[in-house]
């Protein structure tokens, strides 16, 4: 006869374990105790949060050390450190986003901000807006157009160069000396300060087109100097993880090497390449220094990257802050600068979302 065994109320397997509600109790006590301690020396929210966290971590680790043993205590300590580091890392990010949102939204919602340029907006106009309390005139349209066009041209230059370099490195070089030199130079390029890239482009075009050549295209060349190494690196990694078996499968069908690369290797890696390219774009779209020396500033709309000065969002922000349109009333300029900053963040965020979408869209399909 088999006897039925019922589940024991207090399992022998959970002996020496803290009950599941322990962390919550400790957290609540830590909050209360730290509030009490701080009220003795003067209460402030920031100190309260920090002290609560420290007390919580210490009590949690001590409790685990007493009841559960050394291994669990170490685990809790490491967890506390990691969560603490995460929160510290998050702090500046949240702070930046919050500040930019707070200061940028009024400007961004001003009618005409996205659809007008700074053409004709003078100090007198700003002074009048402040004096009458009317909405701030002038907008960011020219800078938005400039940013998009310059980045577009930078992408047009960098993606073929970067992708082809990556293809050479992964598929053709077979680790020869030349490829090692290229890899080294690409690494060096990654570390080039952006202002140096800007000066390179400015000097290069000054040499071939005469001094003082400032156009959107010069800026695009400067940005592509910054972008190419990023594209090379990310595409190289993506091409490397394409399984060799797929290449061999294609070769075994009598497919030529370049057709294998174009039709098998790149399609397999395209999602990673596309998101790498988008991240590279996101990296250069916020560059200020190289644009200052290559594209100049403009207050009016310029759709032609090959002629004339061009404004862009980062340089727009810079000029609005450093040299307000109306020196006596800088508030309208400050408002425009914050709104442009918010717009730039939104643009980068959209690009990142786009990268994810592209990655998902192109990803090799699975399913039955």
């Amino acid at each position: 006869m088999a006897t039925l065994i019922t589940e024991r109320k207090r399992s022998a397997l959970t002996r020496g374990r803290l009950p599941r509600y322990t962390p919550w109790v400790i957290a609540a006590s830590a909050v209360v105790v730290s509030a009490a301690l701080l009220s003795l020396i003067g209460f402030n929210v920031f100190g309260w949060a920090v002290l609560s966290a420290v007390l919580f971590a210490a009590a949690n680790v001590t409790a685990a050390a007493i009841v559960e043993g050394r291994r669990k205590a170490t685990d809790k300590l490491a967890s506390s450190l990691i969560y603490g580091a995460f929160l510290v890392a998050l702090l500046p990010l949240v702070s930046v986003i919050w500040t930019v949102l707070l200061n940028g939204v009024p400007g961004l919602l001003t009618p005409g901000f996205l659809s007008t340029s700074m053409n004709g907006v003078t100090g007198a106009v700003d002074n009048a807006a402040v004096a009458d309390g009317t909405p701030v005139l002038g907008g960011v349209y020219h800078a938005l157009v400039g940013s998009v066009l310059i980045t577009l041209w930078a992408t047009i230059i960098s993606v073929p160069v970067g992708l082809l370099t990556a293809i050479y490195l992964v598929e053709y070089s077979a680790g020869n000396k030349f490829s090692k030199v290229i890899t080294f130079l690409v690494d060096v390029m990654t570390g080039i300060p952006s202002i140096v890239a800007g000066l390179f482009a400015a000097a290069f075009f000054a040499l071939i087109l005469g001094p003082g050549t400032k156009t959107g295209f010069v800026a695009a060349v400067a940005l592509s100097v910054l972008m190419i190494p990023v594209v090379v690196r990310s595409s190289e990694e993506m091409l490397k993880i394409v399984p060799n078996e797929l290449r061999e499968a294609a070769y075994a069908l009598g497919v030529r090497k370049w057709r294998t690369i174009v039709k098998v290797v790149i399609p397999t890696a395209i999602s990673g390449i596309a998101s790498g390219v988008t991240l590279a774009i996101a990296r250069v779209i916020g560059e200020t220094a190289p644009l200052l020396v290559t594209a100049g500033f403009a207050t009016s709309i310029n759709m032609n990257v090959f002629a004339g000065w061009m404004s862009s969002l980062p340089t727009f922000i810079y000029t609005q802050i450093m040299t307000p349109t109306s020196p006596s009333n800088s508030d309208p300029s400050t408002q425009r600068a914050w709104a442009a900053a918010l717009l730039l963040i939104l643009l980068v965020m959209l690009l990142n979302l786009g990268a994810r979408l592209v990655a998902r869209l192109f990803a090799p399909k699975t399913g039955r």
């Binding site: 077979a174 680790g175 399984p243 078996e245 797929l246 290449r247 061999e248 499968a249 294609a250 070769y251 075994a252 069908l253 009598g254 497919v255 030529r256 057709r259 294998t260 039709k263 098998v264 399609p267 397999t268 090799p364 399909k365 699975t366 399913g367 039955r368």
Partner: protein
Amino acid sequence: MSKRIDVSDLNVYYGDFRAVEDVNITLDAKSVTAFIGPSGCGKSTFLRTLNRMHEVIPGARVEGKVLLDGDNLYADGVDPVTVRSQIGMVFQRPNPFPTMSIRDNVLAGVKLNSRRMPRSDADDLVEKSLRGANLWNEVKDRLEKPGSGLSGGQQQRLCIARAIAVSPDVILMDEPCSALDPISTLAIEDLINELKDEYTVVIVTHNMQQAARVSDKTAFFNIAGTGKPGKLIEFAETATIFNNPAEKSTEDYVSGRFG
């Protein structure tokens, strides 16, 4: 179409290391030849030299002659791409193209070479190849689904369909069943028996029962020790190799007394 392969004095190198030494062998048309031998004895390496896949690996090279119906694969001016379109290969691990549907996988050899093919011809080719690989009934309703969604055995048969779709003269198989369960293995062994009517089949296997079941002739490879080149020890009718081998080491290996 099916062609015979004659190999004479073949040495295979990885850089300075000689992996396979002095192989002389004749693989008959419309027959199945099995390569057996311990791991690392060079059977896969040798198989890969038969359609010039060996040289895909950096530093690898070959000396000697491989004649495909009298044409030397390693003669000057021979394009490896031409060789590979006549000598197909199936790999150890099923490797359908993940970006392509089942249909496109079968047509890969045609499409990747960007040969134009009318839709109806393509449909016929897909059906013929999949039927040839005993896969048609299982996938005919989902030809547009990705090939990576099939089971391992189905994927391997898809790879065989892909290989026979380019109508090669010879099909090389590098341990095609080592990643598969017994039922899928049986399906592929049946398939090899059918392929024999049209193609020259060469199969590398670690499974001696499989070699005994599917092959007409068997070649036994062995190495003297680590770092030494692999050698062809004995090549004869499969029945002879398994029942009455001439060499002592062959007998030890096939009877399980090896090492």
